[in-house]
Structures are given as structure tokens and as C-alpha cells.
Symmetry: C5
Subunit: 349 residues, 5 copies
Amino acid sequence: MDKTERPNLGISPGSPIYVGERDPTETALSIIGYDISQAWLKSADTVDELLAHRNPSGITWINVNGLKDSAVITRLTELYGIHPLTVEDILDTGQRPKVEEFDDYLFFIFKYLHLQGKELISEQISMVFTKNTVITFQEMAGDPFSGIRRRILNNGGRVRKLGADYLAYGILDSVVDAYFLVLDELGARIEEFEDRAMDEKDESFMPDIQRTKQELLKIRRIVWPLRESLSLLPQLSPAFIHEELGPFIKDLHDNAIQVAETLDTYRELIAGVMEVNLSAVSNRMNQVMKVLTIISTLFIPLTFIVGVYGMNFVFMPELRHPYAYPITWAVMILIALGMLIFFKHRHWF
Amino acid sequence: MDKTERPNLGISPGSPIYVGERDPTETALSIIGYDISQAWLKSADTVDELLAHRNPSGITWINVNGLKDSAVITRLTELYGIHPLTVEDILDTGQRPKVEEFDDYLFFIFKYLHLQGKELISEQISMVFTKNTVITFQEMAGDPFSGIRRRILNNGGRVRKLGADYLAYGILDSVVDAYFLVLDELGARIEEFEDRAMDEKDESFMPDIQRTKQELLKIRRIVWPLRESLSLLPQLSPAFIHEELGPFIKDLHDNAIQVAETLDTYRELIAGVMEVNLSAVSNRMNQVMKVLTIISTLFIPLTFIVGVYGMNFVFMPELRHPYAYPITWAVMILIALGMLIFFKHRHWF
Amino acid sequence: MDKTERPNLGISPGSPIYVGERDPTETALSIIGYDISQAWLKSADTVDELLAHRNPSGITWINVNGLKDSAVITRLTELYGIHPLTVEDILDTGQRPKVEEFDDYLFFIFKYLHLQGKELISEQISMVFTKNTVITFQEMAGDPFSGIRRRILNNGGRVRKLGADYLAYGILDSVVDAYFLVLDELGARIEEFEDRAMDEKDESFMPDIQRTKQELLKIRRIVWPLRESLSLLPQLSPAFIHEELGPFIKDLHDNAIQVAETLDTYRELIAGVMEVNLSAVSNRMNQVMKVLTIISTLFIPLTFIVGVYGMNFVFMPELRHPYAYPITWAVMILIALGMLIFFKHRHWF
Amino acid sequence: MDKTERPNLGISPGSPIYVGERDPTETALSIIGYDISQAWLKSADTVDELLAHRNPSGITWINVNGLKDSAVITRLTELYGIHPLTVEDILDTGQRPKVEEFDDYLFFIFKYLHLQGKELISEQISMVFTKNTVITFQEMAGDPFSGIRRRILNNGGRVRKLGADYLAYGILDSVVDAYFLVLDELGARIEEFEDRAMDEKDESFMPDIQRTKQELLKIRRIVWPLRESLSLLPQLSPAFIHEELGPFIKDLHDNAIQVAETLDTYRELIAGVMEVNLSAVSNRMNQVMKVLTIISTLFIPLTFIVGVYGMNFVFMPELRHPYAYPITWAVMILIALGMLIFFKHRHWF
Amino acid sequence: MDKTERPNLGISPGSPIYVGERDPTETALSIIGYDISQAWLKSADTVDELLAHRNPSGITWINVNGLKDSAVITRLTELYGIHPLTVEDILDTGQRPKVEEFDDYLFFIFKYLHLQGKELISEQISMVFTKNTVITFQEMAGDPFSGIRRRILNNGGRVRKLGADYLAYGILDSVVDAYFLVLDELGARIEEFEDRAMDEKDESFMPDIQRTKQELLKIRRIVWPLRESLSLLPQLSPAFIHEELGPFIKDLHDNAIQVAETLDTYRELIAGVMEVNLSAVSNRMNQVMKVLTIISTLFIPLTFIVGVYGMNFVFMPELRHPYAYPITWAVMILIALGMLIFFKHRHWF
């Protein structure tokens, strides 16, 4: 189950301390500098070494992977004038997705979703976006940014021509794209449930379907605030986002809506699958019990009849009749047939 | 099940690549030019050949059928100054219905619904509407536009007298009209379900009803965004839509609301049908089990009695009594009658 | 079931063609002219004959009963400058209730509900309200307007003193009043269901209750848009509605809200009745099955015992014991009593 | 069941005629006049006699108890210039709670709730509040106003010092306070249901709980419109309500919200109680049926065995074996024990 | 069950009387004065003694623990010019959480939640916040403020540097932090329910889960109004709250939203757990009944056969056949095997 992440209880608000369910990953720093004519990727051990690789005249993208070393993160964020509450949020992996506007920067929190085997992994990514610089903080190794990194370094696409706001958009876009992959997998699982729904002996059906419902719930808690945040973006200060970016942000928002709607559709599909399953289980059970009960009901009167002629009364005239035995058989067969015809006529089997 | 259409993962946003579940249909181009005095329909193999048939002084309607040839579509859209994200949307058949206002054009995405046998087919249609020109892009062959095409070519109705905005309205109107045909068919199916609901042996009832529920869900996902888009139309730039069109757009919006409300009514009807079915199945089952159990219960005490006189005790005085056998029968018949009267009195059958 | 009324597919929008589930009723025309000092009611065969009876200095109320003769309706509406889409709506009996403001007139669509035997009849009534003139179009014979007509002709009440807007209000008011009669009847039916809910053998209970639910649904689809329309009335042009009418319209709106809330209450009552029924059926069934099973369970061990002494082993010492038979009886009675006491103690019956 | 109160069908709107489910109570008139230095309470038989006791320089509170004598009410309301629709509402006891602002007065309708034995009584109270005068109309004898009356006459509290708006507030406040008494009683009933929920033999449980649900529904229909009306009060004309009254009205509104929330909580509690009951009934039933079936299942194979040795075949070697009988017993006991162990092992009992 | 707290019925509004379910706790007074350079904590027996310890140039925090001594509370609130309705709210422990703006102060009501063993305790805390002074009123001993008190006295953190508004924020923040602790415990309980859901013999499962649902309901009634109040804070007068506090209040609001969303998630998880439980119980029951019924069904035809040869007819040729007995056994074994194969083939066990 998804535990509630508890903020630092009893600690002064705004303290830079890692909070999370998982052990923090070691911090690694990397930097990409680019403009229309060039692009480089460097990694570094200290913040100062890192900042030496900034592109003063172009765009700089700093990536902090792993939140263990809070000293490094404090140092970096102080240099960029980031509010202590923002730093606290970056280090607390239980935050809701959100966008916040500060005087000098925009702050985003969102979640990268992927499946590891059958398990849904949700990783928190924070993004600080100031003029010409984007800083991303990842909770763990593994991110959805390889495509955009490749496009920057290989001089590919629009990204090298446009500003830091397009880079920030591209980062959000790859996160939303990753949601579609997860949805595809969940969709395939629901199709599988549709097949399993008719099998009344599948005892793990209900727990499995509940697990998928919980995962949908978890994704919903991630996608709805993101959708809401994206709908707020156009109202933010034009200092941060150029007008040309409008259609791109609208497109991103549309994708987030589509993810949210697909989640709702999946919920309804799962509800339908559960109804089919309940109905199938109960129908099968009813059929079985009916047939078994019909068999019993057929034999019980016959057993009574044979019991009658097993009685040891001295004066039972039938016992001596030469055709009594075959007549009894005939009567019993007639009774059985009569009952069968009656049951059939009533459509009981 | 309806799979989530995934956008071009890892590809730069705005790339003109076909995305869809179905194989793309070969691209065919046709053009209708008309004004109040004349109208012509031409088809062409290339974009340039096509554009030679434009009506520079009147209205031009270009129809692109099939999305396979992205080069043709790119060429055509570039000539009309259409944004790369719009082209990406045209080529991605998993888009939500929407309307978007750009500087030079309005962009619509909607879905044409029809039934092929029992299967619900949803085809994406995009429409770019600029001054005096309407360009429609259809995912597949087969469309709801034959009526409007005939009216244009036969000098019929209002369409030849009014502008390109009335043509765009007419196209949307025929799409919404087609929804009513689908609703009629689904309504007939639900009536059929009402009859089938009382038959507790119809094992395919629940899967069939779930399939129809899924189709209603699918239509809902198509109709609600359309309804929302239509409600936004009056707020769009008057550069695109003349004031006279107001009542027509309101009428179209009303029709979309009616489709949406009918969908909701169908959902409730289906829920009701399922309740009737559950209740019928369980009532019938209960009746059957009760009758069968009553039969068993009647005979079990009698079988006990005959068992008693089947015992081989040496000293059982009744066995020698000359009327023991008929008395036993009488007692058993009395017991059976008593139980029947008791059951009847308690209204157990 | 309520079929979706399909608009004229493939036909140019705004065409004056009757659309409906029922065969159209023959068109009959009548006119009421009145002012504070006089009032007359005339019927006519043609539009021109009819209009000769207008009251040029007072209020005129034209009533068109039956929508079969579209030529007559087209002629009349053209004379009053009514938009083709309005005429199309008048002739399409599957419209949602609504109010629309045009330059020269207000256009209302609403539904008159009444019960014919057990069947709920919904009749569409359209009303065009221009300065000093009200034109009503009824789908069928039979309307709720006899009271208001009598008040006009008998010089009764406020209606003769106030303007055409008060007449229009009076017409709407009598329609809403008729809803209360229908609600009363449905309320009585729900009370009847409450009695029937405890009878687990009433197999038509569930279909009957579903029929009433469908009727509530149908009324809801009629009342909610009306309520919404009435809430819009105060915002309409003061050219149509005088300020003095304010409290009357608010009162009408309150009545529509009350109808809507009563519908919601009825839905909840029906849901409650269904719960009581489900619980009663299952309780009764459980009681019956329990008693039957207890009877079987009592006799099965006894039948085993008598079976034991029905065995034909040569060496069975008990068989020869002189008191074996009465002792066996005693043992069996003790076992039966023990089981009964055990079952009673466990509160099984 | 709560019947829909039908307005005066076919009667001109605004007619002063009593409408209600109960027979109207005889009309009795009383008047309280007070200011900071004095207070008096008088009753009277006619309106004119009554008005002689007004306090022209202070506050006057006229109370009309019972709505039978519409002539008296018409006379009184005409003297105060009250709109005919208001009078119609006062005389129609099926109105929704509301507040309406007229030019010269505020008009309130609300309901006084109390329990008579187990029955929930809802009494309509109307209040007309003009400058320095409050007129209340009560449907029946018995009201929640004794406390406020006593405070006025005994020179108690704030009420003598503040204006007529504080009196109106005090009247509303005592009505809302009375809701809490009813809620307490219903809360106690729900606690009782929680105890009864575990008793699967309590056949009146479901009807009783449904009755309480209906009462909650009825209170909800009374409280929600009141809450809505109270939220509108601060926007009303400052001519009616002084600024100092602001915190009192907010407090009243808070109380109404608390009543509404408690109703919602009660609904959820009842839903929970019903779930517990359904689960308890079905668990108990399952336990009983399982034990009974186990008993049958134990004896059926044994009965078969004794049947075998009850057969009369001439050649059955076992029958002659000297230990056959005890061996048979041993085998049967072993079979029974084996089955018991198997059932126990499977946790079937 | 949570009883509705009833306000002082029949008592003039604004009277300072303790209302609550619990007996009131003895009143104890303490005061903290601090500024950037110093901080002290004193307790006192009377209000005047207490106020001697105020910090006139810095921040003062008065804490009133226990509401029994209404004279002390009246005296203190009069000195600070607090409205009688506020005092009534402070003394009524059944208030909804809220924030109210008065001319001279902000008034907060909120609830401190904690678990005592398995029981959820909700304690009302009121806070009056005027310029430089914060007064808190606690219903009982035990509060979540030890952390903030320690930070003030130990010169820790931001609190000593910022104004009284930051103190008020810090108090609210520790209350919300305490909610997370309660949520963690409830989350653990739900995980426990997930394990218990598969055990169909756990009769206290349903009552336990309902108790947790009631607690979630109770927390929801506490958290939703708080969340709403916090969303109103930014609109309050800037006289009370400095601009620098903006991000802190937003953060607090985000935490309240997270608590509310976690509650919703828990509700859905519980619903899922109940579905799993219902399905598990019914599946197990079905399995058991099926196996038991199969055993009966196997033996009933065999018992009939042995009954046949237990009949005492004189003329039964089979009885004399030398191999009749073994043949009968063979036939019975074949029948039993045939039935088992048939049942297996049909997947009945």
C-alpha cells in the first residue's frame, strides 16, 4: 500500500532534510550547455566544478541525480537564490505534483512513472526553471530524458533553436509520454482480466484486480494535480514563458487530459470486469448446485420406495406377487422420467 | 478494448508521422469549388494539380481521404501555413475531439461514428477552416458527407448562398446527425437486453451488456469533448464565424447535448436492466432450490420410517401386526400431507 | 423504452418537416383575442381567416393543435417572421425543453405530462411569444390550458389586466402544475411498492419498479432543462418581460425546483424500496432453506441408525436383545432432541 | 411517505387558499410589543383589535398561529402591503424553505422540526420582516419560540436592546437549535441500529432503517434550502439588516452547515450499518448452512455402507463372518473421523 | 458514535458557557514572551498575574489549557476586546474548524487529532491572533506544540526572527503535521485489513472496518473545513499576515490538501478491501458447499442401489445369482467413477 509520506515532524519548516520511503540515492551532478551552434554534456563532483561548465550566453541544464547529499543541493540552490521551502520540497519525495511561481523562478514537481516487472515505480522529479537555466532533481537513477538529451547533443530538432522554456516543456513532455507507456501496460492487464473474469476458480482474480485499481488510484493522484498545474501555466508570468510556446503547452495539457480520461475509462472497465466476474461466478455456482440438487431430488423418492419394500412386515401382500419386483422397477423409472420431464419443462436444467 | 493511443515517444514534438491503431489508408485528394452560380468536384493525384481547381472568388473545400502519404499532407498544410502541432494532431488518430483557434485558421478534431455489423467504428476527421477554404482530413474511406456534397453540387439549399463557415457547420452537423443513427441502434439493443434480462440461462447476457457499456463509454469520450468545443465556438473570433450562424451553432450544440443526455439515459437504463437481470436470476434460482429442497424434505422422514421397519430386530411387535403395513402407509401419507399443508401455509411454494 | 428522436438525417438544416415517434395529429387552428374589456375565442380553417380575428389593440393568443399540416405552420410562422430553425424545432417533437431569445420573439419548448391509465404521456408544446401575441403549438389534442382559457373568457383574475408576458407565464404555470399531478400519482405508486417490497413472491416487482424509475428518468430529462430555462428568464431582454412579472417567474422557478427535488427524493425512495425488497427476499429465502435443511439434518443420523439394524449380519448380538427395539427408539428420540436443543441454543430457528 | 404538496391546480396564481396535507388549524392572533424599557404580550380576536397593541416607537412582533382563517390573514397582509404571491406561499404548507427580498419586506419560509413520539413532525413557519415589525405565521400550535418570548418579556439578554433584525435572527436561531434536538434523537437511533445490525433475525431492521433514511432525506430537503438562504442573507439590502448583525448571521449559517454535515455523516453511518448487517446476516446464514451440510455429508456415506449390508443377496460372504459387524462399525467410525479431520484441516468448521 | 454537539438550547446567543461531550478540564494559564534576543515561559493563576509577563515590545503567546473556568476566559477575552460569539465558540467544543476575520483579530478553530491506544481523540483548539499576540485555547491537556515551544525557548529556527503571524502559522503547521501521524496509523490498519480480508471466519472484520470508516469520516469533517479555511487565508487583510508568509501558507495548504487526498485514497482502499473480503468469503463458502454437495450426490444413487437389493420381494432373481454381490459392487464403483469423471470434466471441483 502507498504510505503517506510524513513531513519532518517537529522540525522547523524549511529544513533541508531528505524525506522519503526509499533510501536516498547517492547524488551525481551533470550539466548540459547548448546554444544553436554547439552543445556539451559534462559531469562533475562538486557544485563549483559543475558551474564552470555553464553556458553563459546560451542555455544551461543542470541535472542532480539522487537526493542523498543535501549539502550539495543546499549549496546549488543557494547559489541560484531558491527559497528554503522549495529546497524542502525537492528533498521530500512525498510531494504532490505542482507548479509554483516565485519571483525569480518557476518550480515544478512531477512524477516519472515506469513499470519494473509488474511493479509500478513512481519517482519524484523537481524542476527549477529560471531565465536560461533549467535545474532538474531526480529521486533515483533512470529517467525519461534520454531522448531529449540526444536531440540536444545531436543538434536535433527544434530544441536547440528555442529557449529554456522549450527545454522545460520538452522535459515535461517526455514525462507525460512515459505515462502513456504505463497506461498501455495497464490496458493490456485489463484485457487479461476480461479473459480471467469468466473463470470462477481463479481465486487471485479479485486481489489482482484490486492491486490494479490501487495503481490506477496512485496514477490518478499523480496525473490530476499535474493536469491542474498545466492548466495554470498560461496564466503565469510572460517573463518565464514565451508566447510561441502556447500551442505546445496546450498540446501537453491535452495529453495530460487524455491520460486522466483514460484512467477514468480504465476504472469503469475494471468495474465492468468485476461485474462480469461476480455474475459469472454466481451463475456457474448456481448451475452446479442446481444439477447436484436435481440428482439428489431424483433419487430421494426412489430410495423411499425401495425402503418400503425393505420393510420386514409379515403381512405385505406385494412381496409375494410374482411380478412385484419388475413392476416396482417400472414404477420407479416412470417416477424418475416424470420428474425429469417436469424439471425440463420448467427449464431447470 | 479501446487501447490508449500513444504519441510518438522519444520523437521531437510536432513531427509529421502517422500514429494510430489501424494501418493508414492510402491518401486520395479531392476538391469542391463553388459559389452561388456554379459548383464543381475534381479529384487529383498531387497537391499542385489539386490546387489548380480552387475557386479563388468563391468557397473551396479540399478533402484528404486517408493519412498514409504524410509528404502530401505536409506539402498541403505548409501551403496553407498550418502549425506543425496541428499537422501532428491530424496524423495522430488517437486525439480527443477539440477546437483550437490559431491566428489564421480554426482547427477541429471530431470523430465520425458508424456501426459495421455489430461493431462500432470510430473514425477521426480533422477540419482546418480558413477564410473561404475548408480542408477536411479523413482517417478512412466512408464518411457522412455525401448529403452535403450532393446539396452543394445540385445547387440545393442554403449552403451555396452562405459562406465557408456554413459549410464547416454543415460538416459538423452531418457528423452529429450520424451519432443519432448509432444511438438508435444502441437503443434497440438495450430494448433487446430488457427482454433477455428475464432469462436466467443466458450466459452471454452480462458480457454483451458490458460490451454495450464500453461502447457507450467510448461514445461518451467522443461526444463530451465535442459538446464542450461547440459551447466554446460562440466565443471565438468573429473573423471566422458570421453572426447569422449563431442560431445554427446553438442548434448544433443542442443536438450534441441531446446525444450526451441520451447516453446518460442509456447508462441508467442499462444499470436498471442489470438490476432486473440479477433479481430475476436470483429469484428463479431461489424458486428452483426451494422446490427441490421441499421434495427432499418431504421424503427424508418417510425414508426414516420405512428404515425403522426394515430393521431386523427379533422382537418388533409391529412387524407381526396384520394391519401394520397399511397403517404405516397411512401414517406416512398423513405426515407428507401435514408437511405439505405446513409448507403451503407458510407460503413456501 | 424512450427512443432517441433522430433529426432529419441528410436533409438541409432548417427544413419544415414533422419528426416524431407518433403519427402527426391533424392541424386545427384557434385564436383568442382579449383586452381588459372584452375577450373572444374563434377557430378557423386557414391562417388568413384566423388572423382576421386578431386583437390589434389588445392581446392575441393563437393556438395550433396538431403538427401534420406543415404548410399551414410555415405560412403562419413566415407571417410572424420566425426563423426556419425555430420552425424545424416546432415540428420536431424530440426536442429538449429550452428557451431561446431571438431579435423579435422568445421561443419556448416544454413538455406537457399526463397519465393515460398507467402510461405516462409526454406531449411537446412550443410557444412563440412576441409583443402582444402568444402562439402555442401542441403536438396532440388535450392540453393543460383549459383553466387559463376559462379565466380569460370569463374575465377572471389578473390575466385580463396584465400583458402578453403574463399570458405566457400563465401557460408555463399550468404546465408545471400538471407535473405535480403526475408526481402525486407516482408518489402513490411508490407507496404501493413499499407494501409490495416485503412480498418475496412478487416476480413483477422488479420490472415494475424499473418502469417507474424509467419514468422518473424521463420526467427528469423534461424538468431539468425547464428549470434551467426558467432560471435564465430574468436575464432576458426587458423588452419581453415586464418588471412586475419578476415575483411570478421566481415562483414558477421555485415550483420547477420543487418538482426536480421531488424527483430526486423519489429516486432515493425507490432505491430504499429496492433495498428493503432485496433484504426481505433474501431473509425469507434464508429462513425457508434453514428450516428445510434442519429437518433433513435431524433425520439423516436417525436413518443411519435404522440402517445399521437393517443389516443382515449373522452375528449381531443386539438384534436378539428383547428390548433392543424400544432402546433404539429411545436413543433416536434422544439424539433428535439433542440436536433440536443444540440448534435452538445456537438460535438457528 | 412524504406526499408532494400540489399547488392550487387550475386556480389563478396568487389566490389566498390554504393548501396542505393536514387539516388547517384554527387561527389565533397574538402580539408582542417591546422596546428597551418595556414589553407586553396581548392576544386578540380580530386584526384591528390586534393592531391596537402595536408599539409604534419600538419593535412589534405579530404571531399568527393556524392558517384556517384566510380572511384574517388576507386582511393583515393587505394592511402591511404584502404581495399576493407571498400570501399564497404563507398559506401553502408545501413550500421549500427560502428567503425573498421584496421592496418593503423580507420574506422567509422555514420549517420547525420536532419529534412526537417516534414520528418526525415538520411544521411550516413563515416570517415577514419589515422595518420594526416581524410577523410570523405558524401552521400549527407548538413552536420553538418560548425561549425568545420569555427573554423579551423578562427583559433578558441582548434582544430588548437591538432592532427587529435581531428578533428575526433570534427566531431563525431557535428553529435551527431545534434541529439539533432532532439530530440527537436520530443519532441515538443510529447507535441503536448499530447494535441491532448483528442480529440476523431482526426482520424489521431493514424497514426501520429505511424509515430513518427517509426522515434524514426529509430533513435534508428542509435544511439545504435554509442553508442556501442563510448564505444569501449578507447580500441582501442593508436596509433590512444592520452591520452589527453580521457575526450572528455567520454563526447561524455555520450552525446550518453543521446540521447539513451531520445529516451527511448520518447517511454514511446508516450505509455502514447496513453493510455490517448484510455481512452479519450472510455470515451467520453461511455458518449455519455449512454445519448442517457437514452433518449430512458425514452420515450419507455411512448410510450407504449400512445399506450395503442390508442387501438380501444369498451369496454375501461378509454376512457370515463372525466379526463383520464390529469391523463394519470400526470402518464407519474411521470414515467419519477421517472426514471430520479433513473438514477441520480445511477449516470448514 | 460521534454525537452532534448541541448548542445552548433556549439560551441567548453569545453566552459564555462550556458545551461539550467531555467534562471540562481545569483551566491552566501559561504565557510565552519572546523577541529576537530573549524568550521566557511563565505560568500563572490569574489573568492579571499572567498579563504581567507580556512582552510589550515583542511577541506574546498566551495559552489557556482547559475550558472549565469560564470566568477566567471571559476576563481574558474582554481585555483583548473579543466578540461574545467568539467566546461562545471557544467554549463550545463541537464547532467546525473555521477562520473568521474580525476588526481587531483573526479567529481560528481547528482540531488536534491523536490516537490513544486504538481510539481516535479529537481535541478542539481555538486561536485568537491579534497584532503581536497569539492566544490559544485548548480543550484538554496534551497538545502538539512542544516542538514549537522548544524552538522559541532555545532560540531555534526562524520563529524568533519573524512576527506573530509566523507563530500562528507554526501552530497550525504542527496541528497539520499531527494529522500525518494519525494517517500513518490508519494506513497501517488498512494494510492489516488487507491481510484479514481473505479470512472468511473473521467475524469482527466488518465491524472493525466500519469503525475505521467512521474515523476517516470524522477526520474528513475536520480536515475539509480546515483546508477551505487555509485557502481563504491569502484573501484576508494584509494587516494580519505579512507578504513573506505567502509561501509558508501555500505550503500549509498543500499539506492539508495532501491529508484530504490521502483520506479519499483510504476510503477507496477500504472499499476495495471490502470487495476482496466479500468475494473471498463467498468464494470459500461456494467451494465448501460444492464439495459437500458433490459428496452427497455421489452417494445418493449408490444408496438407492443398495436399497433395491435390500427389498424383500420373494421373486427377485438377482438375489440368488452367485456373482450378484460383486457385480453390484462393480456397478456402484463404475457409477461413482463415472460421476467423478463427469464432475471433473465439468470443472466442478
